[in-house]
Amino acid sequence: MRGLSGALATAALSSRNGVSRSWALPDAWPGRPMQLARTEFDLEVSSIEVNFTGARRTAVAVNGQVPGPLLVWPEGEIITVRVKNRLTVPTSIHWHGVIVPSDMDGVPGVSFAGIPPGESFVYRFRVNQSGTYWYHSHSRFQEQVGLYGPIVIVPRGGQRHAADREHVVLLSDWSDTDPEHIYRTLKLQSGYYNYRQQTVADFLHSVHQQGWKSAVGERRMWGEMRMNRTDLADVSGHTYTYLMNGVPPAGNWTGLFKPGERVRLRLINGSSMSFFDVRIPGLKLSVVAADGPDIEPVSVDELRVAAGEVYDVIVSPQEERAYTIFAQSIDRSGYARGTLSPRPGLESEVPAMDPRPLLTMTDMGMGMGPDTSMGPMVDSVAADPRRDLDDPGVGLRGNGRRVLTYSDLRTLAPPIDTRSPSRDIVLHLTGHMERFVWSFSGRKFSASEPLKFNYGERLRLVLINDSMMNHPIHLHGMWGEIEGPDEKVLVRKHTINVQPAQRVSYFVTADAIGRWAYHCHLLYHMEAGMFREVHVNA
């Protein structure tokens, strides 16, 4: 249990059941003590009243809290989770990044029938991996309204990257508006939540900066394509309040440390639609795990965490002072914030958000081609997609800080499989921003056939992002091993973000029999069609 210490260990020991809340929730937070075995859990999904913004709203909670309780599982054990649905609608829980049999994977209509109101479902599986993961509902918009929580799987052989203390830092996005209404709004006016569009003043500014000809030329180019350079987040801080461990910025979630300690932060992006750029001014972040598995440590100032992604970082605060954990959204319309502090009640300066980024030529590759072969619901096609895994992405380029990129990541364990892939499956990430339609290769889920993987085969999945947005793509049941130069495996991930106009290829060994979900982890993109079913047939 070395390394599992500090708040987490204390909580885990005090409840002696593996269920703990390592974060400080507001006193008014409903929550009840649970006495469960370390491998057996009783979870209850119900509606609760919450107040994140000053307005009372209804959320979907696990055991009466949002986020749900931290589940601590020992690697190698059989875990039993009984989930009782106390909602008036069906529910489900998916164990994001945890490899389980397909009937335990928690996707209604794909892996099981869902959990009807008033009924229970017993999940039972052996965990054969370790690291930080999370769980969330796979039913409608329940993830948006609170059904998510962290999982820590404690490695059998102890932590490879030692820390004296650890905290879960679960980031999410909350809206007081009903997600059904948000989705409808995006369908009716896709730019509704974007209050950072280019104005006349911006144009005059660029005339002043670059001269009339260049400024007009730039506007012309984007205007001809009918592409909006500020379209970074479909749902923004205009409606979202960004939460850290369920606490809004004003609530200042605080994690404690003693100067000189090595503190492990388990960063989870459990949001529905948000990318967070995370940094702690004054501290280097040593990234030691990506999507669960340990990686070769890499020291950075900042990292972007896409929806569904998970990173463990170790920080070593030396001074007896507070440090701000700052997680600004990709469009700089808001941030989640908390504090690492030697004692409760301290605060440090909250940095100003970076300027609103604009999509650039890089995000277009070598330009968006006139190709219309994928149909009218594809508004752009990357003519010559880029393969630059060392690009930190829009808004993070050249910001003076060392920013993590995918090319920095090296899983410590060897690859799952070293065979060369027997075939390639190429999928385009496509969409129409104005019509708010999202798809793989121009086909919405409703118009698609399941992808067929042959059991045992080694595949290369090639994702080409033809759209001007980032898409974090999540494959259930099987790891994706990102391909570097010379067919080398760089890193093992469950959620792979593909930047605009980028081509990312990764290997998958189809060793998981069953039906699986494969989708964009931006919730409203998935609902709008960016979802495929994968069949692995024996």
Partner: protein
Amino acid sequence: MPSTSLLLLACAVQAQAPAVDTNHVPPDPPRQVMGEMTYQDMVSMMQMDDTHRFGKVMLDQLEWRGAQEGGAGAWDAEGWYGGDYNKLWIKTEGERLAGRTLDASSEFLFDRVIARWWDAQAGIRQDFGKGPARTWLAVGVQGLAPYWLDVEATMYVGNEGRTAARVKADYDLLLTQRLILQPYAEANLYGKADPDRQMGSGLSDIELSLRLRYEVRRELAPYLGLGWFKRFSGTAELARAAGEGSDEVELVAGLHVWF
């Protein structure tokens, strides 16, 4: 024998390259396999359906116009219902002066996506207001032209060999995130004069206007504007004969609302 073959495979891989993660354990096959099901069964279980239909009502212009003859009311409204590919549209526009409806029309159209930025529309148009009612068959396109120009262009065929065309275009110029200047243009053409409705043949009338709206919310924006309304040739003569102007600059004030 899937597990055996995988085992053999794993052994083969092991022999050839030892650097394979032996700690990785694939999941067991499912005990309960979900049977084949239709898309509808699947989406009702998933509660996720990308073919869901939506509807929108837009009162683009609902305004008072300071005409020479006194204050006039005018409207230009649309609504649609449907999925991503096929929709039903209703459009209506017209003007009321001194308690009388002047030139007004409503359209009922079927709308189908035909290209990235364009929809085709077909249906009927009914003219009402002053003079006898007229009914037309309508065929047109609607979409987003380069540089974010909203465009509608529709051709009409009516009784007794009548033909007509209507073109509309507008553009949103963002002065700030909420203060938006909208240039708007509309032109109506008729193939044949219709004196009963005070329409000459050829280019009948145009509107060029500028509306400055403030989006209190996206869905609710009061506006002020200036419109130049001009009637041409035959239509202008018929208007003059009826004692009306053919060329007016009017102040407009109204509400832009959608839901």
